[in-house]
Symmetry: C2
Subunit: 229 residues, 2 copies
Protein backbone atom coordinates (compact mmCIF):
# COMPACT_ATOMS: atom_id res chain seq x y z
CA UNK A 1 0.00 0.00 0.00
CA UNK A 2 1.28 3.43 -0.87
CA UNK A 3 -0.39 6.76 -0.22
CA UNK A 4 0.05 10.18 1.29
CA UNK A 5 2.03 9.81 4.53
CA UNK A 6 0.64 11.10 7.82
CA UNK A 7 1.73 14.73 8.31
CA UNK A 8 4.18 15.57 11.12
CA UNK A 9 2.70 19.07 11.62
CA UNK A 10 -0.58 20.77 10.73
CA UNK A 11 -1.14 24.44 9.79
CA UNK A 12 -4.64 25.91 9.96
CA UNK A 13 -5.89 28.83 7.92
CA UNK A 14 -7.54 31.37 10.26
CA UNK A 15 -10.29 33.55 8.71
CA UNK A 16 -13.46 31.47 8.22
CA UNK A 17 -11.51 28.23 8.83
CA UNK A 18 -10.85 28.64 12.57
CA UNK A 19 -13.02 31.73 13.04
CA UNK A 20 -16.70 32.45 12.55
CA UNK A 21 -17.29 35.82 10.84
CA UNK A 22 -20.81 36.23 12.30
CA UNK A 23 -19.86 39.43 14.23
CA UNK A 24 -18.71 40.93 10.92
CA UNK A 25 -22.11 40.11 9.43
CA UNK A 26 -23.77 41.96 12.33
CA UNK A 27 -21.51 44.98 11.71
CA UNK A 28 -22.54 44.97 8.04
CA UNK A 29 -26.20 44.87 9.09
CA UNK A 30 -25.67 47.87 11.39
CA UNK A 31 -24.08 49.68 8.43
CA UNK A 32 -27.22 49.03 6.37
CA UNK A 33 -25.69 46.39 4.11
CA UNK A 34 -27.49 43.14 3.34
CA UNK A 35 -26.44 39.64 4.47
CA UNK A 36 -24.97 38.69 1.05
CA UNK A 37 -22.66 41.69 1.24
CA UNK A 38 -20.35 39.86 3.68
CA UNK A 39 -19.29 36.99 1.37
CA UNK A 40 -19.21 39.53 -1.50
CA UNK A 41 -16.94 41.81 0.57
CA UNK A 42 -14.66 38.93 1.51
CA UNK A 43 -14.41 37.82 -2.14
CA UNK A 44 -13.45 41.38 -3.16
CA UNK A 45 -10.90 41.58 -0.32
CA UNK A 46 -9.32 38.28 -1.38
CA UNK A 47 -9.51 39.17 -5.11
CA UNK A 48 -7.48 42.32 -4.49
CA UNK A 49 -5.03 40.60 -2.13
CA UNK A 50 -4.46 37.87 -4.68
CA UNK A 51 -4.11 40.41 -7.47
CA UNK A 52 -1.26 41.92 -5.47
CA UNK A 53 0.17 38.45 -4.87
CA UNK A 54 0.05 37.74 -8.62
CA UNK A 55 1.48 41.14 -9.61
CA UNK A 56 4.30 40.80 -7.09
CA UNK A 57 3.09 43.24 -4.42
CA UNK A 58 1.58 43.02 -0.97
CA UNK A 59 -0.80 45.02 1.19
CA UNK A 60 -1.97 45.04 4.77
CA UNK A 61 -5.12 43.02 5.37
CA UNK A 62 -6.76 46.03 7.06
CA UNK A 63 -6.23 48.23 4.00
CA UNK A 64 -7.69 45.56 1.74
CA UNK A 65 -10.67 45.21 4.09
CA UNK A 66 -11.36 48.96 3.93
CA UNK A 67 -11.02 49.09 0.14
CA UNK A 68 -13.33 46.12 -0.32
CA UNK A 69 -15.95 47.66 1.98
CA UNK A 70 -15.89 50.88 -0.06
CA UNK A 71 -16.33 48.92 -3.30
CA UNK A 72 -19.23 46.81 -2.06
CA UNK A 73 -21.05 49.84 -0.64
CA UNK A 74 -20.33 51.88 -3.77
CA UNK A 75 -21.57 49.25 -6.22
CA UNK A 76 -24.64 48.65 -4.04
CA UNK A 77 -25.31 52.41 -4.15
CA UNK A 78 -25.10 52.64 -0.37
CA UNK A 79 -23.46 55.53 1.51
CA UNK A 80 -21.39 54.44 4.50
CA UNK A 81 -21.28 56.45 7.73
CA UNK A 82 -17.96 57.79 9.01
CA UNK A 83 -16.00 55.13 10.81
CA UNK A 84 -17.58 52.26 8.88
CA UNK A 85 -14.18 50.73 8.11
CA UNK A 86 -13.19 50.90 11.78
CA UNK A 87 -16.44 49.20 12.78
CA UNK A 88 -15.78 46.27 10.44
CA UNK A 89 -12.17 45.94 11.59
CA UNK A 90 -13.29 46.05 15.23
CA UNK A 91 -15.75 43.26 14.47
CA UNK A 92 -12.91 41.22 12.92
CA UNK A 93 -11.09 41.47 16.26
CA UNK A 94 -14.10 40.03 18.10
CA UNK A 95 -14.81 36.92 16.03
CA UNK A 96 -15.13 33.62 17.92
CA UNK A 97 -13.65 30.33 16.79
CA UNK A 98 -15.90 27.55 15.53
CA UNK A 99 -16.91 24.99 18.18
CA UNK A 100 -15.07 22.18 16.35
CA UNK A 101 -11.67 23.91 16.70
CA UNK A 102 -10.82 23.03 20.30
CA UNK A 103 -11.54 19.27 20.05
CA UNK A 104 -9.54 19.11 16.81
CA UNK A 105 -6.54 20.80 18.45
CA UNK A 106 -6.82 18.48 21.45
CA UNK A 107 -6.71 15.43 19.18
CA UNK A 108 -3.57 16.71 17.45
CA UNK A 109 -2.00 17.39 20.85
CA UNK A 110 -2.85 13.88 22.06
CA UNK A 111 -1.30 12.47 18.88
CA UNK A 112 1.88 14.50 19.39
CA UNK A 113 1.41 16.46 16.14
CA UNK A 114 2.18 20.19 16.52
CA UNK A 115 -0.43 22.67 15.25
CA UNK A 116 0.13 26.12 13.74
CA UNK A 117 -2.07 28.95 12.48
CA UNK A 118 -1.12 30.42 9.08
CA UNK A 119 -3.04 33.55 8.09
CA UNK A 120 -3.10 36.04 5.22
CA UNK A 121 -4.01 38.57 7.91
CA UNK A 122 -1.69 40.01 10.53
CA UNK A 123 -0.13 37.80 13.21
CA UNK A 124 -1.03 40.18 16.11
CA UNK A 125 -4.69 40.32 15.07
CA UNK A 126 -4.88 36.54 14.64
CA UNK A 127 -3.12 36.04 17.99
CA UNK A 128 -5.59 38.36 19.75
CA UNK A 129 -8.55 36.48 18.31
CA UNK A 130 -7.13 33.04 19.10
CA UNK A 131 -6.05 34.16 22.60
CA UNK A 132 -9.56 35.38 23.35
CA UNK A 133 -10.94 32.02 22.27
CA UNK A 134 -8.47 30.21 24.51
CA UNK A 135 -6.90 28.13 21.76
CA UNK A 136 -3.36 29.57 21.58
CA UNK A 137 -2.10 27.16 24.30
CA UNK A 138 -2.82 24.40 21.77
CA UNK A 139 -0.91 26.11 18.96
CA UNK A 140 2.87 25.93 18.66
CA UNK A 141 2.86 29.30 16.84
CA UNK A 142 0.65 31.80 15.03
CA UNK A 143 2.25 32.54 11.65
CA UNK A 144 1.41 35.31 9.19
CA UNK A 145 2.31 35.54 5.50
CA UNK A 146 3.55 39.07 6.36
CA UNK A 147 6.87 37.42 7.30
CA UNK A 148 7.28 36.35 3.65
CA UNK A 149 5.92 39.44 1.87
CA UNK A 150 3.63 37.18 -0.16
CA UNK A 151 0.05 36.02 0.26
CA UNK A 152 -1.23 32.53 0.09
CA UNK A 153 -1.78 30.80 -2.36
CA UNK A 154 1.73 31.69 -3.56
CA UNK A 155 4.18 28.94 -2.52
CA UNK A 156 6.33 31.09 -0.21
CA UNK A 157 3.96 31.18 2.81
CA UNK A 158 3.49 27.39 2.78
CA UNK A 159 7.23 26.80 2.57
CA UNK A 160 7.76 29.34 5.35
CA UNK A 161 5.32 27.43 7.58
CA UNK A 162 7.13 24.17 6.84
CA UNK A 163 10.45 25.82 7.75
CA UNK A 164 8.97 27.11 11.00
CA UNK A 165 7.65 23.65 11.80
CA UNK A 166 11.02 22.14 10.97
CA UNK A 167 9.58 19.66 8.47
CA UNK A 168 9.75 19.32 4.68
CA UNK A 169 6.67 20.65 2.81
CA UNK A 170 5.42 17.11 2.19
CA UNK A 171 5.26 16.48 5.96
CA UNK A 172 3.09 19.55 6.66
CA UNK A 173 -0.69 19.58 6.24
CA UNK A 174 -2.65 22.73 5.48
CA UNK A 175 -6.27 22.75 6.65
CA UNK A 176 -8.61 25.35 5.18
CA UNK A 177 -12.21 26.03 4.31
CA UNK A 178 -11.11 27.81 1.10
CA UNK A 179 -10.45 25.65 -1.96
CA UNK A 180 -7.93 28.19 -3.34
CA UNK A 181 -5.87 27.72 -0.15
CA UNK A 182 -6.00 23.92 -0.52
CA UNK A 183 -4.88 24.34 -4.14
CA UNK A 184 -1.97 26.60 -3.22
CA UNK A 185 -0.81 24.25 -0.48
CA UNK A 186 -1.05 21.28 -2.85
CA UNK A 187 0.95 23.18 -5.49
CA UNK A 188 3.59 23.92 -2.83
CA UNK A 189 3.89 20.19 -2.02
CA UNK A 190 1.84 20.02 1.19
CA UNK A 191 -0.73 17.48 2.38
CA UNK A 192 -4.15 19.17 2.34
CA UNK A 193 -7.42 19.04 4.27
CA UNK A 194 -10.60 20.78 3.16
CA UNK A 195 -13.27 21.69 5.69
CA UNK A 196 -16.56 21.49 3.81
CA UNK A 197 -18.89 23.56 5.97
CA UNK A 198 -21.60 23.17 3.35
CA UNK A 199 -22.98 25.49 0.75
CA UNK A 200 -19.78 25.87 -1.20
CA UNK A 201 -19.15 23.16 -3.78
CA UNK A 202 -15.47 22.40 -4.44
CA UNK A 203 -14.59 24.14 -7.74
CA UNK A 204 -13.37 21.88 -10.55
CA UNK A 205 -10.53 24.30 -11.31
CA UNK A 206 -8.66 23.53 -8.06
CA UNK A 207 -6.60 20.49 -7.02
CA UNK A 208 -8.61 18.14 -4.80
CA UNK A 209 -7.77 17.91 -1.09
CA UNK A 210 -6.01 14.87 0.40
CA UNK A 211 -8.79 14.58 2.98
CA UNK A 212 -12.11 16.37 3.45
CA UNK A 213 -14.84 16.36 6.08
CA UNK A 214 -17.75 18.48 7.24
CA UNK A 215 -15.85 19.90 10.23
CA UNK A 216 -12.29 20.47 11.42
CA UNK A 217 -12.40 17.50 13.78
CA UNK A 218 -13.26 15.22 10.88
CA UNK A 219 -10.44 16.64 8.76
CA UNK A 220 -7.94 16.17 11.60
CA UNK A 221 -9.14 12.59 12.12
CA UNK A 222 -8.63 11.98 8.40
CA UNK A 223 -5.09 13.37 8.54
CA UNK A 224 -4.22 11.30 11.62
CA UNK A 225 -5.58 8.19 9.87
CA UNK A 226 -3.00 8.53 7.09
CA UNK A 227 -0.25 5.92 7.40
CA UNK A 228 2.81 6.91 9.40
CA UNK A 229 6.03 6.36 7.44
Amino acid sequence: MTGTPRPRAVAFDVNETLTDLAPVARAFTRLGLGPDSVPWWFAVLLRDGMALAAAGGAARFADLARGALAEVAGVAGHSLPDGAGDEVLDALRRVPVHPDVMPALERLHDAGVPAYALTNGSAPLARDVLDAAGVTPWLTDVLSVDATGHWKPRPEPYHYAADQAGVPPGALALVAVHPWDVHGAYSAGLVTGWVDRGGRPYPAVFARPTVQAADITGVVDGLLDLSAV
Copy 2:
Protein backbone atom coordinates in the same frame (compact mmCIF):
# COMPACT_ATOMS: atom_id res chain seq x y z
CA MET B 1 9.25 69.20 -18.71
CA THR B 2 9.41 65.50 -18.10
CA GLY B 3 6.58 63.05 -17.71
CA THR B 4 5.08 59.84 -18.99
CA PRO B 5 5.51 59.73 -22.77
CA ARG B 6 2.50 59.29 -25.07
CA PRO B 7 1.92 55.56 -25.67
CA ARG B 8 2.47 54.14 -29.17
CA ALA B 9 -0.21 51.45 -28.72
CA VAL B 10 -3.19 50.97 -26.40
CA ALA B 11 -4.57 47.67 -25.02
CA PHE B 12 -8.07 47.56 -23.57
CA ASP B 13 -9.31 45.12 -20.98
CA VAL B 14 -12.58 43.53 -22.21
CA ASN B 15 -15.00 42.36 -19.48
CA GLU B 16 -16.71 45.40 -17.90
CA THR B 17 -14.18 47.77 -19.51
CA LEU B 18 -15.34 47.45 -23.13
CA THR B 19 -18.45 45.38 -22.42
CA ASP B 20 -21.58 45.98 -20.38
CA LEU B 21 -22.55 42.91 -18.32
CA ALA B 22 -26.25 43.90 -18.12
CA PRO B 23 -27.40 40.75 -20.00
CA VAL B 24 -25.59 38.67 -17.39
CA ALA B 25 -27.51 40.50 -14.67
CA ARG B 26 -30.76 39.62 -16.45
CA ALA B 27 -29.70 35.96 -16.59
CA PHE B 28 -29.03 36.04 -12.84
CA THR B 29 -32.49 37.51 -12.27
CA ARG B 30 -34.07 34.71 -14.33
CA LEU B 31 -32.15 32.22 -12.16
CA GLY B 32 -33.69 33.79 -9.06
CA LEU B 33 -30.52 35.52 -7.84
CA GLY B 34 -30.53 39.14 -6.67
CA PRO B 35 -28.89 42.11 -8.41
CA ASP B 36 -25.89 42.19 -6.01
CA SER B 37 -25.11 38.60 -6.90
CA VAL B 38 -23.55 39.67 -10.22
CA PRO B 39 -20.67 41.77 -8.80
CA TRP B 40 -20.32 39.16 -6.04
CA TRP B 41 -20.10 36.37 -8.66
CA PHE B 42 -17.56 38.32 -10.71
CA ALA B 43 -15.43 38.97 -7.61
CA VAL B 44 -15.46 35.24 -6.79
CA LEU B 45 -14.59 34.38 -10.42
CA LEU B 46 -11.65 36.80 -10.38
CA ARG B 47 -10.57 35.74 -6.88
CA ASP B 48 -10.26 32.13 -8.02
CA GLY B 49 -8.58 33.05 -11.31
CA MET B 50 -6.07 35.18 -9.45
CA ALA B 51 -5.51 32.47 -6.87
CA LEU B 52 -4.52 30.20 -9.74
CA ALA B 53 -2.32 32.97 -11.17
CA ALA B 54 -0.61 33.37 -7.78
CA ALA B 55 -0.22 29.61 -7.20
CA GLY B 56 1.20 29.11 -10.69
CA GLY B 57 -1.79 27.51 -12.39
CA ALA B 58 -4.40 28.54 -14.92
CA ALA B 59 -8.00 27.69 -15.72
CA ARG B 60 -10.50 28.38 -18.47
CA PHE B 61 -12.65 31.43 -17.86
CA ALA B 62 -15.79 29.36 -18.47
CA ASP B 63 -14.87 26.86 -15.74
CA LEU B 64 -14.19 29.69 -13.30
CA ALA B 65 -17.54 31.27 -14.20
CA ARG B 66 -19.39 28.00 -13.47
CA GLY B 67 -17.55 27.46 -10.18
CA ALA B 68 -18.24 31.01 -9.02
CA LEU B 69 -21.94 30.70 -9.89
CA ALA B 70 -22.18 27.51 -7.82
CA GLU B 71 -20.50 29.22 -4.85
CA VAL B 72 -22.70 32.32 -4.93
CA ALA B 73 -25.89 30.28 -5.22
CA GLY B 74 -24.71 27.85 -2.52
CA VAL B 75 -23.77 30.54 -0.01
CA ALA B 76 -27.03 32.37 -0.73
CA GLY B 77 -28.89 29.13 -0.05
CA HIS B 78 -30.38 29.12 -3.55
CA SER B 79 -30.83 26.00 -5.68
CA LEU B 80 -29.95 26.53 -9.32
CA PRO B 81 -31.94 24.88 -12.13
CA ASP B 82 -30.17 22.53 -14.57
CA GLY B 83 -28.34 24.47 -17.25
CA ALA B 84 -27.82 27.55 -15.08
CA GLY B 85 -24.12 27.71 -15.93
CA ASP B 86 -24.89 27.50 -19.65
CA GLU B 87 -27.43 30.31 -19.32
CA VAL B 88 -24.84 32.62 -17.72
CA LEU B 89 -22.18 31.72 -20.31
CA ASP B 90 -24.68 32.30 -23.13
CA ALA B 91 -25.43 35.73 -21.64
CA LEU B 92 -21.68 36.49 -21.58
CA ARG B 93 -21.66 35.88 -25.35
CA ARG B 94 -24.43 38.45 -25.90
CA VAL B 95 -23.05 41.42 -23.95
CA PRO B 96 -22.94 44.78 -25.78
CA VAL B 97 -20.05 47.22 -25.67
CA HIS B 98 -20.40 50.50 -23.78
CA PRO B 99 -21.46 53.48 -25.97
CA ASP B 100 -18.14 55.27 -25.33
CA VAL B 101 -16.06 52.49 -26.91
CA MET B 102 -16.55 53.29 -30.60
CA PRO B 103 -15.70 57.03 -30.38
CA ALA B 104 -12.62 56.19 -28.30
CA LEU B 105 -11.39 53.69 -30.89
CA GLU B 106 -12.05 56.19 -33.68
CA ARG B 107 -9.90 58.79 -31.92
CA LEU B 108 -7.03 56.34 -31.56
CA HIS B 109 -7.38 55.41 -35.24
CA ASP B 110 -7.35 59.08 -36.27
CA ALA B 111 -4.22 59.59 -34.15
CA GLY B 112 -2.49 56.61 -35.77
CA VAL B 113 -2.24 54.70 -32.48
CA PRO B 114 -3.08 50.98 -32.84
CA ALA B 115 -5.63 49.52 -30.40
CA TYR B 116 -5.75 45.99 -28.99
CA ALA B 117 -8.05 44.04 -26.71
CA LEU B 118 -6.37 42.05 -23.91
CA THR B 119 -8.67 39.73 -21.98
CA ASN B 120 -8.42 37.21 -19.14
CA GLY B 121 -11.22 35.42 -21.01
CA SER B 122 -10.89 33.44 -24.20
CA ALA B 123 -9.93 35.17 -27.46
CA PRO B 124 -12.72 33.49 -29.52
CA LEU B 125 -15.39 34.59 -27.03
CA ALA B 126 -14.04 38.15 -26.87
CA ARG B 127 -13.78 38.25 -30.67
CA ASP B 128 -17.41 37.11 -31.05
CA VAL B 129 -18.62 39.80 -28.66
CA LEU B 130 -16.54 42.57 -30.23
CA ASP B 131 -17.48 41.43 -33.77
CA ALA B 132 -21.17 41.60 -32.90
CA ALA B 133 -20.68 45.15 -31.60
CA GLY B 134 -18.90 46.14 -34.83
CA VAL B 135 -15.70 47.27 -33.13
CA THR B 136 -13.18 44.64 -34.36
CA PRO B 137 -12.39 46.65 -37.52
CA TRP B 138 -10.95 49.28 -35.15
CA LEU B 139 -8.80 46.78 -33.26
CA THR B 140 -5.45 45.58 -34.59
CA ASP B 141 -5.90 42.31 -32.69
CA VAL B 142 -7.88 40.63 -29.92
CA LEU B 143 -5.39 39.08 -27.48
CA SER B 144 -6.05 36.61 -24.68
CA VAL B 145 -3.86 35.76 -21.71
CA ASP B 146 -4.42 32.12 -22.70
CA ALA B 147 -1.46 32.55 -25.08
CA THR B 148 0.79 33.10 -22.04
CA GLY B 149 -0.70 30.56 -19.62
CA HIS B 150 -0.96 33.31 -17.00
CA TRP B 151 -3.72 35.69 -15.96
CA LYS B 152 -3.46 39.41 -15.55
CA PRO B 153 -2.27 40.99 -13.25
CA ARG B 154 0.85 38.82 -13.55
CA PRO B 155 3.43 40.59 -15.75
CA GLU B 156 3.49 37.99 -18.56
CA PRO B 157 0.21 39.02 -20.29
CA TYR B 158 1.18 42.71 -20.39
CA HIS B 159 4.61 41.91 -21.81
CA TYR B 160 2.98 39.59 -24.34
CA ALA B 161 0.69 42.42 -25.49
CA ALA B 162 3.68 44.75 -25.85
CA ASP B 163 5.48 42.10 -27.92
CA GLN B 164 2.41 41.68 -30.13
CA ALA B 165 2.22 45.45 -30.59
CA GLY B 166 5.94 45.59 -31.38
CA VAL B 167 6.64 48.21 -28.71
CA PRO B 168 8.50 48.13 -25.37
CA PRO B 169 6.23 47.85 -22.29
CA GLY B 170 6.71 51.55 -21.50
CA ALA B 171 5.23 52.49 -24.89
CA LEU B 172 2.03 50.47 -24.36
CA ALA B 173 -0.97 51.75 -22.40
CA LEU B 174 -3.41 49.45 -20.62
CA VAL B 175 -6.93 50.83 -20.17
CA ALA B 176 -9.21 49.12 -17.65
CA VAL B 177 -12.10 49.70 -15.29
CA HIS B 178 -10.45 47.40 -12.71
CA PRO B 179 -7.86 48.92 -10.38
CA TRP B 180 -6.08 45.54 -10.02
CA ASP B 181 -5.52 45.50 -13.78
CA VAL B 182 -4.13 49.05 -13.69
CA HIS B 183 -1.82 47.97 -10.86
CA GLY B 184 -0.59 44.90 -12.73
CA ALA B 185 0.08 46.93 -15.89
CA TYR B 186 1.94 49.56 -13.87
CA SER B 187 4.03 46.87 -12.17
CA ALA B 188 4.87 45.46 -15.62
CA GLY B 189 6.10 48.88 -16.79
CA LEU B 190 3.11 50.04 -18.85
CA VAL B 191 1.36 53.40 -19.05
CA THR B 192 -2.09 53.06 -17.45
CA GLY B 193 -5.57 54.49 -17.84
CA TRP B 194 -8.38 53.92 -15.36
CA VAL B 195 -12.00 54.23 -16.45
CA ASP B 196 -13.88 55.44 -13.39
CA ARG B 197 -17.49 54.51 -14.22
CA GLY B 198 -18.54 55.62 -10.76
CA GLY B 199 -19.41 53.76 -7.61
CA ARG B 200 -16.05 52.11 -7.14
CA PRO B 201 -13.47 54.20 -5.30
CA TYR B 202 -9.87 53.53 -6.31
CA PRO B 203 -8.36 51.32 -3.56
CA ALA B 204 -5.36 52.76 -1.71
CA VAL B 205 -3.54 49.43 -2.03
CA PHE B 206 -3.05 49.76 -5.80
CA ALA B 207 -0.67 51.93 -7.85
CA ARG B 208 -2.46 55.01 -9.20
CA PRO B 209 -3.23 55.25 -12.93
CA THR B 210 -1.30 57.55 -15.26
CA VAL B 211 -4.61 59.01 -16.45
CA GLN B 212 -8.19 58.59 -15.36
CA ALA B 213 -11.57 59.77 -16.57
CA ALA B 214 -15.25 58.92 -16.24
CA ASP B 215 -15.41 57.18 -19.62
CA ILE B 216 -13.15 55.48 -22.15
CA THR B 217 -13.15 58.48 -24.48
CA GLY B 218 -11.85 60.66 -21.67
CA VAL B 219 -9.11 58.18 -20.82
CA VAL B 220 -8.05 57.94 -24.49
CA ASP B 221 -7.99 61.74 -24.74
CA GLY B 222 -5.78 61.84 -21.65
CA LEU B 223 -3.39 59.29 -23.13
CA LEU B 224 -3.22 61.14 -26.46
CA ASP B 225 -2.51 64.38 -24.57
CA LEU B 226 0.68 62.93 -23.10
CA SER B 227 3.79 64.41 -24.72
CA ALA B 228 5.15 62.53 -27.73
CA VAL B 229 8.86 61.77 -27.36
